[in-house]
Every structure is written in structure tokens, then in C-alpha cells.
Amino acid sequence: MLSAPIRKVALLATISACFCFGYIRQYTSDSSPIPLFRSDNAAIPFALNQSVVAGLQSSLSGKNVTVISAHSDPVAAVRASMATWNSVPTANVHFQPLQSTSAGIVYQGCGDTNVINVAADSADLSAVGGALAVTASYFYNSGGLGSCGAVVAKGAIQNSNIIVNPAYPFSTDGSTSYDLQSVITHELGHALGSSHSSLIGTNMFWANSNQRLLSSDEVAFLSTAYPPASSGLAVGTVGGTVTAGGQPVAFALISMIDPATGISCGTLTAADGTYSVQAPPGSYQLIVEPLTGVIKPGNLYLTAAQATASAAIAFQPTLASGLAVVTAGGKTTANVSVTTGTTTFAIPIVTTTAVNAQVSSAFIGGPAVVPSGQSVDLVLDGAGFDSSLSDSNVQVFGPGISVKPGSVRVDPTNSYGGVPILRITLNVAASPAQYLASVFISKGANSYSLTGGLIVTPPTPAFTSKSVVNAASYTGANGNGAVSPGGIYSLYATNGTSTLGPATPVGNGGYDAYNLLPTSLGGVSVTFDGIPAPLFFVYSGQINFQAPFELAGKTSTQVVVNYLGSASPAVTVPVLPAQPAFFTITPTGTDSIAVNQDGKLNSAQNPEARGNYVTIYGTGVGAVGCAIATGAGAAAGCSAKDTVTIAGLPASGQYFFPGLTPTAVGLAQWTVQIPANAPTGAQTVIATDTATGLSTPKGTLYIK
């Protein structure tokens, strides 16, 4: 989990702190509905049932299922989901550190805990039905004296429980189709009172696409529902009326997209066809859509009356003419007249591939992931998406994304249901952040909008096995890279690329709320066989991390770097039981980072006397004599079984201590007495792991 200041850095990298105030919320279920809200928004407690662990099996659904895959970390996933919502700087929302509980889902009406659990009995299983997970939120349907004896406000959420379906195999490492973190992030959004987003590529879209990140649309919800006391943000207002032949269009989707920044947000028109959205300064393309496409009234909590009103006028997805220009503090009127009639375009099957590559799978209606920094084929399949279309029929909205001229074509070799697919090659400039792009297709009087349906991700992180090296020695092993359990390592981008993270280095701010180093920093995470690594700092060219202790006993590991939803291919890296190395003053020198008995840095100008103690710092000592959680500071006395020589002479002493530096993460130290007979001047120091015989590269100490 990210600490508070770092979380904000991460978010800035994700959404550039841009948002709109629109969104669609949940409401009470009476005749005068108001939005649901949490009154504990600044400190929301949630507990994960302690049975939800890696390898959890369940047969409750009638079939034996590994609900949490063996190498998953559900606690880290839930913490990350909470951190995702906590990281919105323009909202006053904070989930407290995740608690553990033995309690299941209960409702007592007062003092209930917000619990996340896998369905544990027939009541839970019936509630979750066939969904991956559900959130049951209990709320006050009227104000007054609440069940705990205190005065409560109508619409206040009493508590929320998240129930995970034991019929599906979840994972946190991509080893199954169902990503626990994205699911929990979505459900926590409901626990906050969020409805579903109208933008296809968002986490809060009603169907799961393993999207872990928040878009400007979810941020809009949070900023609207839980505004901070003073945000200091400059926004303007866009509003107007949507009409068809002069008649107001009720409950239509209206989306705003700034093609220059990718900021996208959506809302619904009111019963009288009006709408109002606050947004940061920019020029916005407006798209109006009926609730007859991939989003239907039911997906947005509309009442029956509202659903009926939304269907009163049949109209096409409509692109507003011109852009709505928003200025700080300004009010812009943008009325939209929609084109009537029902589109003949079917909801297409949507995916992306490399240019002319085979299609593996797709979603109906989207979304599709678009890795930036390359050309990709957008694939559409369905009635209307045929050879009659050309470049002039297709518009794409997003920064740095465009249709390659002459690339709209039918692929006769691939089909769905016997219907040949349409390919559109998109040229996508490298983007340092994830954003949502939209595609609008029109032909004659008919049109189709894939609004927010393209998730444009940063370029795919690129590195090789050789580029994963000990952070102290800059070496791997046997001509390859290497890691050892608990050691500090560096991972470098492949030459000529800078794809590992943000352009500006982001360092961690120390321990998080769980006294662990964060495993996500600046939008970057690194996993080893699915286990997230604690991070020291990240930027586009390098990541410094602690190799998880869980690698002990392995000979190799699969390393994946994920930057804002863009994941590298898994790279196999050898695992050594230990790889001791001293940190050095300069990258190419051998002068070790060591302190003399008086606490001053050992150097040619400040040598230590024979018989005195020096402490040399490094990493990679491997197994130590105490159990330490990955990412946690070491306790005192975590010793390694190492020997040390200085100038070839065995060195130890009464206070000899090879092992982990107390309170530090991954840092090792060798505290050793300089032999009385050691020669003076610059002398070689070497430490050796007695279990493996692996030694540090030569270091240098200065002796007087």
C-alpha cells in the first residue's frame, strides 16, 4: 500500500489530477431519492475475513474451486484497491488500514463491520448469484433516529459487505481470468455510493475487464460526492439541453472528451433534457447516446419511469458539432440536437491486435486495450462494420491517436460467427499515462460510438533478464541477471527504451500504514511469480526494489513490470540463495561504503585503525536467522552465516555481526574488527556466505 504523499504522486502519474464533476450515483429507494453517501468517508474501516488466503479452496458452489490461486496475495490486492481510492487528491475519502477478521457477513443494524469475504453459507451464495462479486450496502431510507440510537441522515450508508463468489478462480498475478484487485476496487466504489460509469474502459463500468486503475470519470464521482474543504481547483461548467426535433431528450448518456488530454467523463441528462458538468479548462467533444447500446437503463440504476422516459425518443449516437470550450470559472452552454432514428449498427465485438495479427479474444461492445507507442489494429465485428466503411466514416478522439490513412479494411481471413471482421489501424503515440480514447463511426444517417472504449496504456515496459542485477554490485550471475531473497536489486530498461515508469523519479515516502514499503509507486509495480516487490524508487529507466523473501528455495522466477496497466512480458530471472555485495562509493570503484568505529565514513583520508571495528554496508545476504516479512524493516539480530577477510586475513571480533541492518529493508551490514596484523593502506575486504560459498566482489577498506 502506498503512503499518503506517495499515493498522490501515483495518482498524478495516472490521471494528471484532471477530472470532471459529473458522474452517476446511487440513490435511496424511496419516492424522493437522494444520493447514497458515507458519513465515515474520512476514515472508512474495512476488514478482510482471515480465511481469504492464497490457495483457498471451496466446494460451496457445488464444484471444487481454488478461489484464490496458490501464488496470489489477496491481502496486498485489497490493500491496493483501497489505496487506489485513497489516492484521489481531489476528494476527502480514506479507507483505514485493512483489518483482519474472523467474522463473516452479518447484519445487526448497529456497529456492524464492513467485511470482505468469500461467500460462506447459502445466504451469501444466494445473494452473490452468478456474479463474480457483489456489494450489499445497507442504508437509511429515511432520516431520523437510527438503529444505533443516534440521529442519522437519509441516504447514509450504515455498512457495506463485499461478497466474493466461490464459484470462480481469482488471482492477483494474472494466473486466472478473474483479477481480484480490479474486482475489489469496483466493489469498493459501490461501497462509496458510486453507480456505474458510462465509459466502457473504466473500472466502474458494469462489466469486468480487469481494469485496476481509476479514470477521470471515477475521480469525478469521488470529487463530487466527497469534496475536500478546499480543493483550489480551477474548473468551469458546461451545460445545456439535449433535444430531438425540439423535444427534450430525457436520461440520455452525455459524454465529454477532451481530445488533447484524454480527460473523459459522463453523466445523464435530466428528465427535462438538461445536463451540467464541471470540468477543467479544455476543449471538449460532446457525444450523446441513447440507453439502447452496451449500456442500458438497468446498468445505471434508472427507475422504471426513468427507463421509460429514456426510451421515449429513438435517436442515434450523436456527435455534437464543434467543441465546448471550458474556461476556469466560466459557464459554457452547449445544446445538442440529436439525430433521430434507430441505428442499424450492431453492438460490435471489439478488440485490438498487432497490425494484421490473429485475433485471440474480444469483448462485445468493448473495451479494448491499446498499447501506445506503436500502430495497432482496432478490430470491430458486427452488422454495419463492413466494406462500405472508409477513413471518412471513422473519427478517433484522444491525444496522439489517429486513424492510419487508408487502413479501414475488411479482413477476409478472420471472422466471428461467420462475419468477417473490420480492421482499423490506429497510430498511437507513446503516452506516459493511461487514458481513455473514443471512436465514433458514422455512415449516412447511422452511427455508433465506442465512448471511452479504448484503454490507451503507456508503452509496454521492456527489460531483459540480464538487466536485473544486484543494486550494490550491478552484477547478475553467469552472464545473466539474478536476484536473491530479501536483497536490494535494480532493474534497468532495455537499451534505447524508457518504458519502466514515469520520466521523473518517484521515491517511496517510507513505510506505509502497514509498516511495509509500498509495492506500487508512481504507477509502477513489479512482481516475482505474482508476488509484488517492495519498491525504493522508480522512473522510466530504472526500478530499485527488494526481491521478495518468498523466492527462497527457487532457482528462477518470472518477473513482470506493470506501468499504469501496461504489463511487460514475463521475464525469467535466475534466483540465487544469496548474492552478497558491498555498496560502493562510486558505481565503478571498489571503495566500500563503510563507517569507522567513530561513525564517520571510512576513506583514504579517514582510515580506521587496526584493532578497531568497521561496519561495511551491502545487500544480498540471503537467508537470515529470523523471519521478516518482505518489505518490512529488519529486527535486531537477524544474522547471516558469513565470514569476512581483510587483506586475506580472517576478521571477526567480539562484536562481529554479519546480517541485516536493523529497521532497514534489504540492507545488510558486516560489523567486523580489523585484524591487529592487517597491513595498512587500501586493503581488500571480502565477505562469504558459508552456506553457498558465494562471496562479495572485492571491496576496499582504508586501514591505518
Binding site: T28, S29, D30, S31, L36, I105, Y107, D121, S122, A123, D124, L125, S126, A127, G129, G130, A131, L132, A133, V134, T135, A136, Y138, F139, Y140, N141, G144, Q158, Y168, S177, V183, H186, H196, W206, A207, N208, S209, V294, K296, P297, G298, N299, Y301, T303, A304, A305, A307, I349, Q358, V359, S360, S361, A362, F363, I364, G365, N414, S415, Y416, G417
Partner: protein
């Protein structure tokens, strides 16, 4: 006052027509009637129960009425919202696929995927959107499953007939 909620299919994997039919204990046509909300027997969840006057049974035992139960609703001053539950509006003409829940309730199969509203022209429309992960055609292979999207807008009688054929086929297998 019984809340009217939307039909959602949040985070629900897509079903094919064959899966939808096979997973359903009963498939009926009918008219939506009265509804009421109450706690379940474990007093953990509020459910809204809706009575359907049956006009045709396409799978399962014939009856005059059936009660469909969906989680969510309000009892007294306490409301419970469970994202994705399906709503039924009095007077609606529907073809519904119903699955028996472990607590004994009959619930719409696959969330919104199992409810079709019959319009005035006798065609069916799914009330909630859905999303499915789909695979492209394998070269030379015939796809045996039927995506639900292909059912959108077909005559209700055609949907009923397909269900009955599928149900009979499964019985034959047994």
C-alpha cells in the same frame, strides 16, 4: 414502498443461450404482478419477491404463478442495495429464465441475462446490457454455442421454441 431497481449484470461473466437454458430450473412466459420485500431467514439480506402470472412454461414444471426473488429492497427504514439485482415492473410481459438459489429462492439466471421483456410487437429485449468474452471462429469449425446478443429483438415465440428444443434435448441426454 417497494423500490424499483435497475437490472444490472455487474461483474457477471457472460452466458451463452445454451448455458442460460441449462442452468435454469424453469423458463416461463408471463406477466409481472405484485412484489414485496423481506429479510431472508438468516436476517442477512433483504430480498424483493415478485409474483409472475404464468402464461407459458417452456422448461420445468407447469404452474399458474411463480415468485421471482432478487436481492435488495427496503424493510422499514432500512434499505439494502445489491448491485446487479434485476427489477420487475408490474404489468411487464416477460420471458424469464429462473435458477434455484441455495436458500430456496428462484432468481433470474445470470442476473440481467435471464430476463427478456416482450414488446408490443411480440419481440424480446434483454433488460440489462451484457458483455461476453468471445473467441473468434476456429478455421473450419462450427460454433455450437449461441451468443445471447443474437437473441436481441427476435420474436418471443422463437425464443420460447428454442428453449423448449434445448430443454427437450437435455432431457434426452439424461
Amino acid at each position: 414502498m417497494i423500490p424499483v431497481r435497475g437490472a444490472f449484470a455487474t461483474l457477471v461473466p457472460g452466458l451463452t443461450f445454451e448455458q442460460l437454458t441449462d442452468q435454469s430450473e424453469t423458463v416461463v412466459s408471463g406477466t409481472v404482478g405484485r412484489s414485496w420485500s423481506d429479510w431472508d431467514s438468516a436476517h442477512k439480506y433483504i430480498w424483493t419477491h415478485t409474483e409472475i402470472a404464468i402464461t407459458g412454461t417452456h422448461k420445468g414444471a407447469a404452474a399458474k404463478t411463480v415468485v421471482v426473488s432478487e436481492p435488495g429492497g427496503a424493510v422499514g427504514d432500512t434499505g439494502m442495495r445489491l448491485d446487479g439485482a434485476v427489477s420487475y415492473v408490474p404489468g411487464e410481459q416477460v420471458v424469464i429464465f429462473l435458477q434455484r438459489m441455495p436458500n430456496g429462492y428462484l432468481r433470474t439466471t445470470g442476473w440481467g441475462q435471464g430476463k427478456y421483456v416482450v414488446d408490443s410487437s411480440g419481440r424480446v429485449h434483454n433488460a440489462g446490457g451484457r458483455i461476453e468474452l468471445v473467441q473468434p471462429d476456429a478455421p473450419g469449425a462450427a460454433d455450437a454455442s449461441t451468443p445471447l446478443r443474437t437473441l436481441e429483438g427476435i420474436p418471443a415465440d422463437q425464443l420460447r421454441a428454442r428453449v423448449e428444443v434445448r430443454a427437450r434435448g437435455r432431457q434426452g441426454v439424461r
